[in-house]
Amino acid sequence: MRKIKIFTPFERFWHWSQMLLVFVLTVTGFEIHGNYNLVGYECAVRLHNSAAWTFIGLGILSIVYMLSSKQYKNFIPTKEKLGEQIKYYTSGIFKNEPHPTKKSLYNKLNPLQRIIYVGLLIVVFPVQIFTGLIYMFYHYPQNPADVAGFKFAAITHTLGAFLMVAFVLVHVYMTTTGHKLTSGIKSMITGYEEEPLENKPSEKPENSI
């Protein structure tokens, strides 16, 4: 077995903090949406608001980190091996075939992950943050500017929340598709992934630094 460094300390801290924040946002968010009564509406609103601000703060921090460390390149979508990756998840995985892509510090996301994550980062998160801010500050038609309606923002925010829940479910499941069931989660904790020795260290792929 060989250990490959995949996640930096900041990335691990960012991931797990974000996980807890998304958990808090989801639980309180659907209470605010009226789906159940758990911590009480007022408490849910206050927690949702503070978690939202922290989420935004953490997001800014991570942008700074991504840009300065050039780790953002991990998220740039690529068509290379995209077909193989889809084929792997839909058939290869059932035939005990090896992963078509190799992970490394500079290539930590496979082509499919790149598309999904970049979708989250540049579509779902910004939409959630933007509609969330409208939710917080644009309560009423005359304040501060008359946009078509708060209703649209609220419903879009709900749609984003559903997509997040679906993402988390699939995301958690996908962590079990590594070398071993737990190797995905382990790498996010320790930063290292264990790989069988027969796999050669990956070459620097096109998009790596």
């Binding site: 300390p9 691990r12 801290f13 991931h15 797990w16 903090s17 996980m19 807890l20 924040l21 808090v24 605010i32 949406h33 009226g34 009564n37 009480g40 509406y41 007022e42 408490c43 609103v45 206050r46 927690l47 608001n49 503070s50 978690a51 922290t54 953490l58 998840y89 995985i93 059932f94 035939k95 005990n96 939710y135 309560h139 009423y140 038609p141 005359q142 304040n143 309606g149 708060f150 209703k151 609220a154 419903i155 709900t158 749609l159 929340a161 559903f162 997509l163 829940v165 679906a166 479910l169 699939v170 499941y173 079990t176 598709t177 996010m188 904790i189 320790t190 930063g191």
Partner: protein
């Protein structure tokens, strides 16, 4: 050692720090700032600057209350001019109804769905006029000695106007044990700013009994606790009416929208508490669209019952011996009276809610009833109107006579001291009561009437609850039984949702789960095959 450090670092990064982030979130997210204390000087705390008992003019022997008024005005000159401009004196004022223009309206000429209307029933209704003897149209509104200073300024609590006396106190001829001739020297020498009982003697008893009309103004407020009203409570600030209804030159602020139309001269919570009293953004933002009263008056008529339904159509029945019927409900409120009909009273009532921007429409004499139930008054407002707020309202429903030809609301003669003068309360005769009532008000009547259902809207302002009893968010922000379920012209979080988005959202989650289950089962079975 290196490995231990590594483990420590890992633990810090992926467990301790993220949990710290969440802890700080909860710790500071749930924090609520203290509400700032209100600092105001109350009128009720002011001390009289003069001793009225030492003035010789008030020690004279008064034979008539008008002489007291003359004595008052001999020092307080010009006060009569101020007072004679007021709605308390004129019972009407010039005002603009949005969309209808300028009208002159007030208690004098407006209708209601309680005792239906004042003018023509002066002996009884005008007992609550701040004058002496507005018994008919001959009353002189320009004569200052007709002003009754005492009913508002008596602090001896002994001055009373006679029932059915058209505003006069008792004289030697008609005095009773309960309504004796006032001791004018005592009363005149103990004048001061009005207390709750001075205002309450009329404002608590509108509609013919305690709390019948307002629902949030009643005699229990004379001596009450914080659980009924935090402002007037004797175990609280013990405030009087004019502490909020600030008064300059006899112009008393405050509007009752049963008789008012314009958003002027109002008494507001904000005048003491400010626009952002909670010191909390989320709650203070609500003040843009939600009146303070909505959350802070979760229930009204907390002590005695108030009339919620008044059906005139069944009035007029008699006992077999032709005496008048009086029936009571289990709480000892009237449920039927021959002279007034059928009532539903209740206490601890949950308000209804309405958009309201401080302006209102009224059913005027010439208006035809087109939509049922007929709205006696209409509160203007909507979500998109920047000046509107959600307001708690007592809605009083009823049934009363309208002209079957013109569909105009009818004036009835109810009160008279004598039988066979056409007054309904004496003769129980609809036709003559309506003919006489319309005649007095100089209105045309086709001769036939029809009973129509009515609604009147009374915004609630009093009986402010303790902060612990304030409405919780869930009272409105909920899918089932939201208090404002009827206000549907906006999106309310917690109550509203898009069916399309919610159903497809749950479908996405369901399909994800099914996909995960199918995929993992296939992996599990294929792995066994390969092993």
């Amino acid at each position: 050692m290196n490995k231990l450090l590594q483990k420590f670092l890992t633990l810090t990064l992926v467990v301790v720090l993220p949990i710290l982030v969440i802890y700080l979130n909860i710790r500071f997210g749930l924090q609520r700032n203290e509400v700032e204390a209100v600092k105001v000087t109350l009128k009720s705390e002011s001390v009289a600057s003069v001793d009225h008992s030492s003035f010789p003019i008030l020690q004279q022997s008064f034979s008539n209350p008008k002489q007291v008024t003359e004595a008052c005005l001999s020092c307080h000159n010009k006060r009569d001019d101020e007072l004679m401009q007021s709605a308390h004196w004129r019972w009407e004022r010039e005002t603009e109804i949005p969309g209808r223009g300028v009208v002159t309206i007030g208690k004098k000429n407006l209708h209601n769905n309680f005792c239906t209307g004042a003018d023509g029933n002066n002996g009884s209704c005008m007992r609550c006029h701040i004058g002496y003897g507005w018994e008919d149209k001959s009353f002189d509104f320009e004569d200052p000695t007709n002003i009754d200073c005492l009913v508002c300024h008596d602090k001896s609590d002994t001055y009373k106007k006679l029932i059915g006396g058209g505003g006069w106190p008792a004289t030697a001829e008609n005095a009773t044990k309960e309504y004796p001739v006032p001791d004018y020297n005592l009363v005149a020498q103990s004048v001061g700013y009005p207390d709750r009982d001075n205002c309450g003697v009329c404002h608590f008893y509108g509609g013919g009994g305690n709390n019948v009309k307002h629902g949030d103004l009643e005699k229990a407020l004379l001596n009450t606790t914080r659980s009924v009203d935090v402002h007037m409570a004797v175990d609280g600030p013990n405030m009087v009416c004019i502490d909020c209804h600030k008064t300059e030159k006899h112009n008393i602020t405050g509007r009752a929208y049963s008789v008012s139309a314009s958003n002027t001269n109002r008494a507001t919570c904000e005048q003491c508490h400010g626009e952002t009293p909670h010191n909390d953004k989320v709650i203070d933002y609500h003040n843009h669209k939600v009146a303070c009263q909505t959350c802070h008056i979760p229930v009204y008529a907390k002590v005695n019952g108030t009339s919620l339904y008044w059906d005139w159509s069944v009035a007029g029945r008699r006992n077999p011996d032709s005496s008048f019927i009086k029936e009571y409900d289990a709480d000892h409120n009237y449920s039927y009276l021959s002279i007034k009909g059928h009532f539903v009273f209740d206490n601890m009532v949950t308000p209804e809610y309405s958009w309201f921007n401080g302006t209102a429409d009224h059913l005027l004499n010439d208006d035809s009833a087109t939509v049922l139930p007929v709205k006696i008054n209409t509160l203007f407002g909507s979500y998109c109107d920047s000046t509107s707020k959600i307001w708690p309202v007592k809605v009083h429903r009823g049934k009363q006579p309208f002209d079957s030809a013109s569909r105009q609301i009818l004036s009835m003669k109810l009160f008279s001291k004598n039988f066979n003068e056409g007054a309904f309360w004496m003769d129980l005769n609809w036709d003559s009561a309506i003919i006489k009532g319309m005649e007095y008000n100089e209105r045309e009547y086709s001769g036939k009437f029809v009973i129509l259902p009515t609604e009147a809207y009374w915004p609630l302002n009093h009986m402010v609850s303790k902060k612990e009893e304030t409405l919780k968010c869930e009272a409105c922000h909920t899918r089932q039984n939201s208090r404002i379920a009827g206000l549907t012209d906006f999106y309310l979080p917690g109550r509203d949702y898009s069916k399309a988005v919610d159903y497809s959202g749950f479908a996405i989650i369901l399909f994800s789960l099914i996909g995960i289950i199918v995929h993992s089962v296939m992996r599990f079975t294929s792995k066994r095959k390969f092993n």
